[in-house]
Symmetry: C2
Subunit: 435 residues, 2 copies
Amino acid sequence: MKEIKIGILGLGTVGTGVTKILYDNGPLIMSRLGAKLTLKKAADIDLQRDRGIKFDDGILTADPLEVVNDPKIDIVLEMIGGEAIAKDLILKAIDNGKHIVTANKALLASQGNMLFKTAAEKGVSIAFEPSVGGCMPIIKTIRESLVGNSIASISGILNGTCNYILSKITNEGVSFEDALSEAQAKGFAEADPTLDIEGFDTAHKLAILSSIAYGTEINLNEIYVEGISNITATDIEFADQCGYRIKLLAITKFTGNAIDARVHPTMIPFSNPLSNVNGSLNAVTISGDAVGDMMLYGHGAGMMPTASAAISDTIDIARDLIYGTHTRVPMLSFQMEQIEKIPTQPIEEISTHYYVRFSAIDQPGVLSKISGILGDHQISIKSVHQTEQKLNGAVPIFMLTHQAKEAEIQKALSKISSLDIITDTPSLIRIEGTN
Amino acid sequence: MKEIKIGILGLGTVGTGVTKILYDNGPLIMSRLGAKLTLKKAADIDLQRDRGIKFDDGILTADPLEVVNDPKIDIVLEMIGGEAIAKDLILKAIDNGKHIVTANKALLASQGNMLFKTAAEKGVSIAFEPSVGGCMPIIKTIRESLVGNSIASISGILNGTCNYILSKITNEGVSFEDALSEAQAKGFAEADPTLDIEGFDTAHKLAILSSIAYGTEINLNEIYVEGISNITATDIEFADQCGYRIKLLAITKFTGNAIDARVHPTMIPFSNPLSNVNGSLNAVTISGDAVGDMMLYGHGAGMMPTASAAISDTIDIARDLIYGTHTRVPMLSFQMEQIEKIPTQPIEEISTHYYVRFSAIDQPGVLSKISGILGDHQISIKSVHQTEQKLNGAVPIFMLTHQAKEAEIQKALSKISSLDIITDTPSLIRIEGTN
């Protein structure tokens, strides 16, 4: 029986999960793969910590070079995270002719173009299913199941921390700060949650998805990113009354000559299945010309779900190796020579429906002034709602607009903000999925 | 550039859809595959019908043997349906060394063991993603993305007609007959809807899923099958009041030594995402030891979604051929020599929660007699609801039970049915997803 040998860099959460699967489900994997998948070496700086695993002798090492330089290892699983060290080790492993599996969305989003090019030149593969959406087979679905489809758009809830916080505010009416504290206490959110709540983690994942959906180079820096830290219970409650949920969405659409890729809090109608995705769960809707809308839903993070995706990638590569080939499915879905740099549409050029909340002084003529400025910018109001109840001493005015241009709404909001009657920066939330 | 040539048997709905994708998205497919995928021949008895496609010269033929015997064709897509003719043509094509893509769930469920064995002996593949769940990548997800998981259970809404009818009754309170008529008028339901509404189509799909999930031979005849024709608006309304939806579910679980595989109307709590799957949409939840619960959701039938799955399978085979291999992923997920005959657990041995509705004469002591018999069979009542409003002259009594054994509840219902006070056969619906 053939044997494929792997090495793991980093026995943190995901690396430990991978080892557990290999040890617990080894015979099952063999009965499916028809070959043995063996953990040859695993490197971590902390070899003392009890991971609940009895490693075979000679597997553990504190030196990652023992993994990337081991001539018997076929596949290296980079499970360290972070950019500098991980990148150097991946490049070294590639140079040694090893195939790579990685969950490192930050590294791929920032340096993926170079890494994939280097791997292709060296004739090895970089697999990255665990980098987006935990256990959900998003990469495989786009790359293989939808291979006959022109992809119109992808919309996803790709960060469990943000979804947990928004669900908590929605269902329990707590403040953003309290929801975040609870997410941290439960271990969903990092001590420094910036990467999650400001949308950057979601943007990393979106950069990867845009690339494989449309055959473009990875282009993180051009993606518009807005996090959830300004979302209030008031916004969520008003959205609910109008039949919407607020979710942090990663959105990518092909406009015909550019990619409209953005991450921001989004109001979506109850009828959109993404609106029912609660807690730390993730989901992604892919829209293709043949399949229509298709959704994947599951655990977007966590030890075992992410490890499951890493094992899936590892076995894909192992199957290629058993049959004497590699990179049978192009890493970025398209043949390398077909990948071009497709421009990103600036956020100012999008056109959608908007929710806006103003805080104003309670005096006659306020609504007239606001709606006058909106009208000057060709923004048509769909509904307006003003309550008697004051919020921080000001009157909140809620508006939903018809489809309008982002550039115009930004100009209008800027003008309205400078009015004496306005007491606070207006809130703006983009709406998706209505006509 | 390499070229892979395909032939299509049957230009009905799916065969036409496949052709449309090949013609419309040909350049896109080539930029992903790195090779040309060419339709060499397509056979159908009706060559006159306008399919909205301009076929290249020399492609169309009325003789299916021109497809299966063409030495230049690598992959044959069997899109005829039905069992006898399709089987003969598939066997002939296999004998000629061609790989097969089929959407024919009925054929695979009844003769799959023989067909897969024959293909393996001949060194060709039978691919069947389009046979289950339309565009949803159920087969690929189980076989490849969950390759590291021990699969605990699969629950799916796999028949769009049934789901359309149940959704219609739920949302509009119409009768089963009216919902079925509308499904037929809209083209969802066949003129003879027996295969769909009696659960057989769902059972065909479940037989295939059980096989690839657990490495068992396909075993259609041992699956318990119950359709939706006895479900009434009354049952659905009561379920709704208790926080449940009624769906026709395909369920397969591994009990440790047997497979609990069954198709029946099922009450599931609102908290289960399958409860929100409405209209003709399909969805499937797969539970694995590493991934937890994961759901796929999308169009489970229809020309283009099913054709998309057929193209995905075709390209999977084409990729194998380009790299000089075949059957890189085992057809039934496990290596052929690992597939055994795992027994199916008889329905009498399951243990679950139940909903029961009795129709009784309005007189004292009725509830005492019914609950006495249930108690004799160790069936504990969780809640009971009796209305003043009579249904067909009788008093309806609704009950939810705690977990009970199917054999016991069947015996109890049989005894209760024979009481003079009972005016109609009791309704029984199994509940899943509660503790």
